[in-house]
Structure formats: C-alpha cells, structure tokens
C-alpha cells in the first residue's frame, strides 16, 4: 500500500520526533542528579535483545513453505549472516555478504 505524500511525511515526522525523544529523555529527566528508577535501568538492559529477536521474527514473517523458493534463500542467507559474523565479527561483511547471497538466490537460483 502506497501512502500519500502527506501521510508519508507524517510517518517520518513521528519517527523523527519519537527517536529524538528516546535520546533526549535521560537528559530531561535525570540531568539534575536524580537517580533513574531501577525498573528503567533494568528494562534498558533486558529489552534490547528481546526487541531484536522480535524484529528478526518480524522480518521472517513472509516465509512460505509452499515452495523451496519461499524459505530456502532466507535460511541460507540468514545462516550465512550468523556464521560470517561468528567467524569474522565484521558487521559490514556479514550484512553485505548475506544480502548479496540472498539477492543472488531469489533472483537467480529460485527466481
């Protein structure tokens, strides 16, 4: 579904405002030496891995098992990203290597 220009601008404005808010909030709340609530510190530590796992599942929601082309490229490229990263630990190599592999698989092999 394509948004109208106004809707897209509104979406981007919301993303910008909320992103700024998450970055500015600690300064607004705690810059006078108040101690941050423990619950906030705790959630700040345990939420990120849970959110990233959630987003990975979200990214994989389009998988279909009806044909090999619906899941094999994702499995191979996803595995490549993880293995490359465990092996070399280089963000760019892992992301680009896996993406190029995925593009070759969906366009060439299973296309």
């Amino acid at each position: 579904m394509m948004l109208t220009t106004g809707q897209a601008v509104a979406s981007i404005a919301v993303m910008a405002a909320v992103t700024f808010l998450t970055r500015a909030l600690p300064f607004l709340l705690f810059d006078r030496g108040d101690h941050p609530p423990r619950l906030v510190l705790y959630l700040g530590k345990v939420l990120p891995p849970a959110i990233i796992a959630m987003l990975i599942v979200y990214c994989l929601k389009g998988i279909s098992f009806a044909a090999p082309g619906g899941w094999v490229p994702t499995l191979l490229a996803g595995g490549a990203a993880v293995l490359l990263h465990l092996w070399k630990g280089n963000d760019l190599l892992s992301i680009f290597g896996a993406t190029v592999l995925y593009m070759v698989l969906v366009q060439g092999v299973f296309g």
Binding site: F20, L21, A53, L92
Partner: protein, 240 residues
C-alpha cells in the same frame, strides 16, 4: 569548531565513515525499491538519523502502518538510547545549545566513539565531541543519498535487497547473544513474537508481542536483574 578540531576528530570517525556509507547505502537502496526516492532518503537520514530505526521505517512506510504503530515501534526499537543518554549526562554538561544536537545525534556508533575517544592535546573537549557527532551524521546522510541515487541510476534488479534489514538484526543479535549474561530475554522475544504471529497474524503481530515481552520481563525482574542481587534486595527490605 575550527580546522584543527576537525582534523583531530576525523581520524577517530573513519570506522564509522566506512560503516555508515555501507549501511546508509543499503538503506537508500531499500527505500528506493519501496518507491521512495532520493529526497525521501535525504530527509529521513537528516531528521530521524537512526540505523535500525530507519530500516524498520522503510518497512513501516511500505506497509502503510498507522501512526500509533509507527510511534510505538520507533519507541521500542530505540529504547536502548535511554541507556546511552544516562552515561552521557556528565560529558554533555555545559555544551549550551549544541547539547540539543548532541542528544539528537546519539546513535549507537557515535555513542561508542564518544564513550572511548578522548580529545588530543590542545583541542577543546566539547568542540571535539560536537565535531565527531556532526561528521558521523554527514556520513550517514551521504551513504543513504548515494544508495538511493545508485538504486535509481543503475536500474539493476534490487529484488531481495530488503534482506539487509534481516541481516542487520541477525548481526546485532549475534553480538548481544555473545555479550549477554542471560539468553532468556532474546529467547522470550522470539517466542512471544511467534505466539503473537500465530494468534493475530502477520499484520498486527508486533504490538501484542511487545506487550507480552514487557510484561514477562517485568515479572522476571527478580530473576534477571543483576544489579539487584538477592542479598542486596533482602537488606533493603530490612532497612526502611
């Protein structure tokens, strides 16, 4: 900010230059293939300035997500920034108007640079921080504009380039997995999202998933909160 500060800050930012050009280009390509051209790429990178947030943003724009969902998901994916700010309170103190920009530009990478980099002899500390932040922001904008233009000009088949988002999240997850004391939050995140996907379907899966995650993590706090060991919690109960 003067030439000397710029010359001192630039070498510190080279790793981010490489990273932002590459990840920014993938963002520009993805956005282009979702039907949004170079002006959109420029505006998003100028005003939002968040790697994983903008990758998710492409998907939110492409699926026409309603504004409350856009707001909530952006909040969640950027939740980690709350922690970054807490450790920069001292560093940014006394920066005046520039502090607004320092808060705005506190990405993962700039945070990493600012927490480790020290200004060389004879360079004013706050000028140096500001310069590092500004350079990083320029790299990010440049990367996304180049990616967008390349996607439009070369006209090659970009089918599948959106896998860069999946790969980015997998890479972040591998790093978190290695550093984490407990893998429970990550496993919970995946499990809750799968449950939500099966219950409400792909369209509306994220909000229920987030609800479950926050609720269960709050309930698990006595077990997972390492900053509050059992002994300390007990002694707090005794002391009024």
């Amino acid at each position: 900010m003067n030439r000397k500060t710029l010359a001192a800050a630039f070498p510190f930012t080279v790793p981010v230059l490489m990273g932002y050009l590459a990840i920014g280009m993938a963002f520009g390509l993805m956005l282009q293939s979702a039907g949004y051209g170079v002006v959109w790429a420029f505006m998003m990178s100028l005003t939002i300035y968040a790697g994983s947030g903008q990758y998710l943003g492409v998907s939110l724009l492409a699926t026409g997500a309603p504004l409350p969902q856009v707001a909530f998901l952006t909040l969640m994916i950027n939740f980690r920034h709350l922690v970054y700010g807490l450790s920069m309170l001292e560093k940014f103190r006394g920066m005046g108007v520039r502090k607004l920009y320092m808060m705005f530009s506190l990405t993962d990478e700039t945070y990493a640079l600012l927490s480790s980099a020290r200004p060389p002899e004879g360079v004013e500390e706050h000028d140096f921080y500001f310069c590092v932040a500004l350079l990083d922001h320029c790299y990010w904008i440049a990367g996304s504009v180049i990616g967008s233009l390349a996607g439009a000009a070369l006209g090659f088949d970009t089918t599948g380039v959106d896998f860069a988002m999946t790969a980015l999240f997998l890479v972040i997850a591998v790093g978190q997995w290695k550093a984490a004391g407990s893998h429970l939050p990550a496993l919970l995140g995946a499990a809750a999202t799968l449950v939500s996907l099966l219950l409400v379907g792909a369209e509306d899966m994220l909000l229920p998933a987030l609800g479950i995650i926050v609720l269960v993590l709050t309930l698990l706090r006595p077990r997972l909160d390492e900053s509050r060991p059992a002994q300390q919690a007990r002694s707090q109960e005794v002391t009024p």
